[in-house]
Amino acid sequence: MRFYKKKLWEQIIFSTLFILFICIPFSCQVEYPEVSEGVRMPTKAVLVLSEGNFQGANASLEVYDPSGSEEVITHAFRKANGIPLGDVAQSITIRGDEAWICVNTSKVIFHIDLSTLKLKGLVKNIPKPRYMHFVNDTKAYVTHLEYPHISIINPKNYQKIGEVKTFMSSDKYAGNALSQSTEEMVAVGKYLFVSCWSYQRTVLVVDMEQDKVVKEIEVGYQPSSMSQDKDGKLWVLCGGAYYKNDGLPSLYRIDTETFEATKVAEIQNLSGDAFHNASNLVMVPDGSSFYFLSVNHIYKMGIYDTVAPSKPAIELPPGNHAYALAIAPESGDIYVADAIDYSQRGVVYRYSADLGEPKDSYRVGIIPGSFAFYSK
């Protein structure tokens, strides 16, 4: 093989070009700094958990001080811990001075200290966690989407210690029970009532001493939120099927002693919207009435009413997409979250219990989906 002898000018051009191209990317590297500021929690705080977009990895936790300063700490989890909260933050449960955050698609439960929001530990590899209910310091139940069990974890060491199978042998869904999901939980005595939301129509009764489903109660389509009234009855809000002719949203009342369910009312489609729904049943502190969301409106209903309300209790700003609702246990203030376009930071409106003008509004994260109230 004969080697070609390079001329000097060829060598110069070749080398210059190579160096020039190598230099371009070096001169343009951009690095974003990590965020890891500390957080000083107010004495009283409203914690707002924003789901973020599915597969968007942009869930967040905002902290609001309702007691005068009305300051909002945005991205509080990230500021305290230097990492994002994850993908689709579903619920926050406060126990003493600590909180547990279920992050659905990330398959993790974060345990944080409420004085600093610093991470204390985490339960990982847990199938799509939705809600958490503490039995005691060493036992808590976790519900799941797409997993036919309720997990039992030990919050002390973050380990899973057992499971409650969430379908019964006589279950009419037994043939496809492997897809059964579980949602919100309310404990009454030794029984835990668990709604089965995703495309289902049952409320399960779990004996917490045996860790076993002892009863399955049929209710309306897609039961989600539940709350106990002052008479001890459990109210269940069923979101309905997705088409108006296939099952309207409905309210059921369950006798927690006999496990009998009574259909109290259907929630008519007053908006004319093709896709009717209802969600977020929250009881007022004295247990005499409750609020719920339906097609971007807030409705109020007394526990002895037999017909669903036909008019909204609060006029929300037009064009809102009401996504979450909560009542502060001490003040009775009503908090409503508006997801706006589901792609920007949402807004929380705070109304006094007398349903007047909003007392306040503030920005939180993307798709604000749940609230928790904390006081030191």
């Binding site: 371009i24 974003y32 968007g56 992050v103 530990g121 199938p127 099927a241 997705y242 896709f275 997409h321």
Partner: protein, 688 residues
């Protein structure tokens, strides 16, 4: 000012080099390379006012492991949104949505009739001989609905060498990645055949430092003792792609030309997990499978002033997507989603080109497509009777196009055009367009091009009929686009050539379709005609080739775009901060460059791409999760040819992500650091 500076920086750099050229006489072989820069003093009538850019053949042939998304990342200034090799890859053309770019291969649409867009990662570059971009209005000459533009791909029988030829490439790369490509072709006096086989398999399990997670350690009491960022692997990124393409050509005389193409593909892909995923990947199922067959028969008849092309085509696709959890290997998995869909498109078209004189050309096309789609989610079907309705949709689509091209004087070209479309029972209004160009000066072929057109994109089958949530009352998205730009080309003494252009575009798109849960919490996602969007900006490109001696070839190309894409509202309510803001995941600036140096038997290819920051929130707030950082990407390939008696052999070493840049194109999806590939290509001479 900023876009102008970008433009100057890139273009000046590329201009500077060739202008220093010394002019030698060149051998015949170099003429082929110079043709890569499409320098032509003659302006074809078919190109009057058309904004079209061609992807470099050097890029098309650079690497068998490339897909169309790699090609476009480095060979254009379009924004390619991807989650790594083998994963979904979509494109934003002129600041529009992926469904606003139409992708055609040999005349068949590759856009999914259900989703509306095309996954570019499923199109291997070696199944494409020619690729070009029709920008904005210019796309209506080929297809309707390209509000951003169209990507025109095709194979070309005329490039086949006479006789038998065989090419085999085998690549091996980081993360257990193997690519194989075989091409056999025969070209005789009257007929020819090409067979291409492609196979790619990879674990794709690159390692990365996950700064979005902490790994925790506890003491015996459960108290936290240590935390650090973990090194993790991209544990769900495996893919296995197989493609086969068989083409037959028959040219019995000078008038008739027949061709038949079949493209079959079988894909298996895992969908990568987010970097905020804490689940054990061994328990998680998130994967797609696809089998597709595309067939097209084409008959072209060339008479003295008439060219007629008749095409019949079929596309049949079967897709499955599973998302679930499997607690252990002894139990059945629990699925959240088991989606199964199948769609078939039957296509017939007739295109007639009439050239009564050198100054006149009339083109007409009639296209009929019959879309049939079935889709269901097995899980929903089992659990909820109201959701057990399978999507079964059929739609007959008609499209007619008529265009006249006239050059009243040599310097001026005028081309009015009309397109009309009927989708099922929906008829779009006539789509008018006007294209003009004017040769300002023969020096450098400096040509002014301008156009104005309307365009409509019909809702997809999912938009209309998806269960639950489809909205049969949707209107088509409506676009109005204005373009004006300058093109130039220089060439000198057959040793160098440069071409380039810059273009201003201005588009208004109304009735933009947006999927949202409009009814609030826990409601169904449904599409509505919501926003009006103003997408405008500058696109520019430049290409140059220089061959100072028989042993040297230098080829440079660069692209730059500045693409504001602004939501004009209406606002949902007074708190909506999205109006007046850049659309999410649309970079304001994007640029790419390719340098190719051939010296004797050595080649060096350097590819570079840049995207500015992308907002993830419609309000464009610069929060930590609101911005995906800008990045610069560099790939370099060194090649050496070896010529032996029995075979030509080429060895290439490619270094991807040369500077080990930590980057993401989609938030939460890490991309691989520096990785390597070695590629061996054989061209046996035994068959010649």
């Amino acid at each position: 000012m900023k876009p102008v500076l970008y433009l100057l920086a890139i273009n000046c750099f590329l201009f500077a080099l060739p202008l220093t050229a010394q002019v030698d006489s060149i051998p015949q072989s170099r003429v082929r390379s110079l043709r890569e820069v499409r320098v032509s003093a003659h302006r074809p009538l078919s190109q009057i006012g058309v904004q079209q850019s061609h992807l470099d053949t050097i890029l098309l042939r650079d690497n068998i492991s490339q897909s169309l998304s790699d090609l476009l990342s480095f060979g254009s200034s379009l924004y390619v949104k991807e989650q790594g090799r083998g994963s979904l890859s979509t494109i934003s053309f002129r600041g529009t949505a992926p469904s606003h770019t139409q992708v055609l291969w040999n005349g068949i649409s590759l856009n999914s009739p259900m989703l509306g867009f095309s996954d570019l990662s499923r199109i291997p570059s070696h199944f494409v001989d020619e690729a070009s971009l029709l920008h904005g209005s210019s796309s209506i000459s080929k297809v309707g609905g390209g509000l951003g533009g169209a990507i025109i791909l095709g194979t070309n029988s005329e490039q086949l060498p006479t006789g038998h030829s065989l090419l085999f490439s085998q690549g091996a790369g980081s993360y257990d990645t193997y690519d194989s490509f075989l091409k056999y072709s025969y070209r005789g006096a009257m007929w020819g055949s090409t067979t291409r086989l492609s196979y790619a398999v990879s674990k794709n399990d690159f390692e990365y430092l996950n700064k979005n997670k902490w790994e925790l350690k506890y003491d015996d009491t459960g108290a936290l003792t240590e935390l650090r960022h973990p090194w993790e692997r991209n544990s769900n990124g495996q893919f296995k792609d197989m493609h086969i393409l068989q083409e037959l050509y028959l040219q019995p005389n000078d008038i008739d030309k027949l061709s038949l193409s079949f493209w079959g593909l079988s894909l298996y892909r895992q969908l990568p997990f987010l970097d905020v995923q804490y689940g054990d990947s061994h328990h998680l199922i998130n994967e797609q499978k696809e089998q597709t067959l595309r067939g097209i028969m084409s008959w072209q008849k060339q008479l003295s002033s008439l060219q007629m092309t008749t095409q019949f085509g079929i596309t049949s696709t079967k897709q499955a997507y599973d998302n679930g959890y499997q607690a252990n290997e002894y139990v059945e998995p629990n699925f959240l989603t088991q989606s199964r869909s199948r769609y078939t498109t039957l296509l017939a078209s007739e295109r007639i080109l009439w050239m009564p004189s050198s100054k006149w050309q009339v083109e007409g096309e009639l296209k009929v497509a019959h879309q049939m789609a079935k889709s269901e989610d097995l899980q929903m079907y089992q659990l909820d009777g109201s959701l057990g309705k399978k999507l079964e949709a059929k739609r007959l689509e008609l499209s007619a196009y008529l265009s006249a091209r006239w050059q009243p004087i040599p310097r001026l070209g005028v081309s009015p055009a009309l397109r009309w479309e009927q989708f099922g029972m929906r008829s779009s209004p006539l789509i008018p367009a006007l294209f003009l160009d004017y040769l300002i000066t023969p020096w450098g072929n400096l040509t002014l091009k301008t156009s104005v057109s309307k365009n409509y994109r019909q809702p997809t089958l999912n938009d209309l009929y998806y269960l639950p949530g489809g909205n049969p009352d949707l209107k088509p998205e409506e676009g109005m686009t204005y373009d004006i730009g300058l093109d130039f080309s220089f060439y000198g003494s057959d040793t160098w050539a440069i071409e380039g252009g810059a273009n201003w575009f201005d588009s208004y798109i109304s009735n933009w379709i947006l999927w949202l849960p409009y009814s609030g919490a826990r409601s169904i996602w449904t599409p509505r005609n919501m926003h009006k969007v103003h997408a405008y900006g500058i696109e520019s490109h430049i290409k140059g080739v220089w061959q100072p001696t028989s042993k040297w070839t230098l080829n440079l190309s660069a692209n730059f775009s500045w693409t504001p894409s602004i939501n004009l509202g209406p606002a949902f309510n007074a708190d909506d901060l999205s109006v007046g803001k850049q659309l999410v995941y649309i970079p304001l600036y994007s640029a790419s460059a390719v340098a190719y140096i051939k010296y004797h038997l050595w080649t060096l290819t350097y590819k570079w791409a840049h995207y500015s920051k992308r907002f993830t929130m419609s309000s464009n707030e610069p929060t930590p999760s609101g911005v995906v950082a800008p990045y610069f990407m560099s790939d370099i390939t060194l090649g050496r040819e070896f010529v032996t008696k029995w075979t030509d052999l080429e060895l290439k070493l490619t270094v991807k992500n040369l500077f080990n840049h930590r980057y993401q194109t989609v938030m939460g999806y890490p991309m691989p650091g520096t990785n390597y590939q070695i590629l061996l290509t054989l061209r046996p001479k035994i068959l010649n």
